[in-house]
Amino acid sequence: MNILDRYHAMEYGPAPEARNEADAWLAARDFGKALFIGGDWKAASGGKTFETSEPSSGKLLAKVSDANAADIDAAVSAAAKALPKWSASSGYTRAKVLYAIGRAMQRHQRLFAVLESIDNGKPIRESRDIDVPLAIRHFIHHAGWAQALDRDFPGHKGVGVVGQIIPWNFPLLMLAWKIAPALAAGCTVALKPAEFTPLTAILFAEICERAGVPKGVVNIVQGGPEAGAAIVNHPGIQKIAFTGSSEVGKIIRKATAGSGKKLSLELGGKSAFIVFEDADLDSAVEGLVDGIWFNQGQVCCAGSRLLVQEGIADALIAKVKTRMSRLRVGSPLDKNTDIGPLVDATQLDRVKGLVAEGARQGAVCWQPDAALPTSGYYHLPTLATGISPANILAQEEVFGPVLATMTFRNTEEAIELANNTRYGLAASVWSENVNLALHVAPQLKAGVVWVNGTNMFDAACGFGGYRESGFGREGGREGIFEYLAAKLPLGPVIKPAAVSAQPAEQSDGDTIDRTAKLFIGGKQVRPDGNYSLAVATAKGKLAGEVGLGSRKDIRDAVSAARACKAWPEATAYNRSQVLYYLAENLSGRAGEFAARLTELTGATPKAARDEVDQSIERLFLYAGLADKFEGRVHQPPARAVTLALHEPVGVVGIVAPDVSPLLGLISLVAPALAMGNTVVAVPSERYPLLATDLYQVIEYSDVPAGAINIVTGRTAELAAVLAKHDDVDGLWVFADADTCAKAEAESIGNLKRVWSGNGRGLDWASDEAAGDAFLRRAVEVKNVWVPYGD
């Protein structure tokens, strides 16, 4: 073609990014010694390697050391060895290291981008303009957190040695999301990149060498499932941070149950992309391009479910199709490529299989008429219409360039459809009406909501999911907490409840017989099984009988808690007043509760009175904090505000300790209530009468029905039922170690957020057993991005 031909054709033509530097880098490395442990490059001790190839051609790129358990052990040892000095170093020292990493990455920005595109297959435009700059931003942003740690997080310290496992879709960016906050918090790390994409992590390790990262602070171990399992199970690791599939996330949750390891999981998603009739439709179409065709759709928060208001559905779909036909599928190293290959043949097969199954279930799948490159794992952008919510394409995460489309009639239905998923990672809301957008955003069960935008990320803003999309946040202030341990006053080890002889002898007293029932949905109800549990006094006599709650009572209690809308929707001021009123009414009966404590626990009258007074004080505290534990406004480097909203976790199960049976229960229930959660509490198995005595106090205090539900019975049994209940969003367990471990292990059904004392209680009487550390457990942080400008 001569220039005149081109003048008439007006096509873009190829615009290849040079790869010679990257090829030279590849050629100069011994990938058989790719384990970066304690500042040295090592071969895998088992001598094994795995292959990484180029998705655009299938060609072999390198054979990379494949770490085994011994190598992981070496990496963890190196991290543990480096920990004391690193964690004790000043924030300024750590800030300088993070800054140096960021700047050094900046100096090698293009090499990172080209390597990433070669290894992963993502278009160079994305690696160059999005992944790598964001990764750099993460390090420079977190340099500031390192120095601000003492100021902003008093009473916290770094959690210790961290094991991190990252996916292949954003290899360098996910590495940055993991390593930057860990180093800022004074942790040392052992990180395992994904097998498909080991390369940029190796370049990053080289950067660490040059940027003055102390040996052992960052260890990068390449490997597969064996290495991953070794990290998860290593006793020398205090925290696991994982990004990947929900399936593996659940395995990790189960494997770490009872280990005391802190855990954060960033998992899959089926994020809704909601377009209302007053949206800027052309911009919404571009939003979809950024939402589902970004990185070939291999994005955990991809806007894969398009929900469009009926009146504009045809117009929008027409625009989407037109736009799709303009997407350029091709070599990742061509600057004009919009969609590159999927990462691997297995991934391509999976996507094709899901599309075929979706079509079999009635979806109409449309693809633009475009030629695909002859080699490589390419998949055309795909639009699936005629989708019912039950269709596999509406349910399952495809992790490919496939958009499932449904319509809705009104706002309520849009929200319902959006939330009709096990996942809860992200959502987009498109409307020019700020009233509508800000009405919908808080009602979406998703950790990130973009208003009139999608796939916006920043180091200053939190990212992470609700529901089975995982827990924990990355980025922003909320992300730092994931690498910190709060100083909580530990209590004694909790022993499993002994099955003691039933007290027979009625304790002294000339009172009318009282039947302590369960408290569910605002009513005192008999246990479903109609059995009772005898409660002994401190002297071993019969103090009374409480209902023996069973799984069905838990079921009913959870239903009541779920049905209670009045409490989560109440204003914080309103909740505050109810909690004050609870305190007021408890105060009115303080003597009675103190006497009960003495009767049951044998506490001295003074100690008993102190516990009651402290319980009242604690209610007062959380009543006051109900409208003060507020979210933040993050400031990403864009014309946007990001509202980090504190939302209630939802239905929270609380398994309260025997020690301080009143104060312990109230110390847990009050913060949960203050933040708008509804609660299903299992009180002390040994001293449940303190909880049943509360029923009347609750009834007098204007607490909406279902906000507090109390089920007495066997702690271990009821904790397990709560753990297995998939409509319980959070579970706090202060019980024996075995009960705690089982609760964590059984939580995987819906990945509820479990807070366990791991067999230890807290010193409930301590002032430190209250406050932000509790409130933080009681909220999800939702980041709502609101770009603005007119």
Partner: protein, 351 residues
Amino acid sequence: MSSTIREAELGAGASKVTPLPARAAANTPVPLDHRIARNPGMKLDLGFMESVRSVNRSALERRVASLTKRRSLKADNQAAWLLRAVACMDLTTLNSNDTEERVRRLCAKAINPFRRDIVEGLGIADEVIRPAAVCVYHPFVATAVDAVRGTGIHVAAVSTAFPHGLAPLSTRLQEIEASVKDGADEIDVVIPRGLVFGAKWRELYNEIVSMRAACGDAHLKVILGTGDLATLRNVMLASMVAMMAGADFIKTSTGKESVNATLPVGLAMVRAIRAYFEETGYLIGFKPAGGISTAKASLDWMVLMKEELGRPWLEPELFRFGASSLLTDIERQLEHHLTGHYSANHRHAMA
């Protein structure tokens, strides 16, 4: 011809014309037909305007930011696209110290835009590639018409009390008629921006209808003065009114506002063009003007046209740059393409 008569002629049903063949949507490729059916306009349809008033500035800014980074032109393609920019250029002089001699120089440059060695080096001697028009103030129309006679270069006159548009309507219409009489076949009119702020759409519509009538066969380009309009929503709505009133082109700026043609403004306008096309089947031209002085910027604008509207909008019938210094920068880039040497302004003949 008064505006009321025009509206009556069009009638209620006349706004929906039979579209040109094979156009599913404006930005799908259509066979190039250089004879573009002229926009007859339509009645002022406030409901239609309402349906396009949602313009999200942040989203448009993100779109243009990624658009210009997601398309890249290299080597011969880049040279070809730069030649295209020249072919879609209204080579312009709009200075208060313009003289007839200055205008003749401009015309001479338009007739012979490239050095001979560049034409030969690029292998484009078989085709005439030169600016589509010269654009001048009214007093120089006759001079320009004389200078470009026989070349096929159009003569565009800025009109209607350019750049502010604040003269009496009768004066403004007379100015159009005078320029047409002197031989201008393209008339670049300005709108009084106050009508937009006051949402006086009917008044604006009527004025433009009158201007179109005054143009006769001359093509009407309506300058919105987007730098003055404050919001992209105003830009979108003013674009719609101009097209409904019969504009052949809509144009961003006079070059005299404090903010010139920007890509987000351009994006709003081309989306207005697309919406009008989808509604009526008529293809409206687009002319960004003011501040576009580098070859790189011209490529960004052409990428915008190709991505949002498609190939037809890379022909001078539907796309023009209003530019004065852009040509020289393009010449320098073309010389660099041929020689590998970075060039200097003084190596290329000035206008």
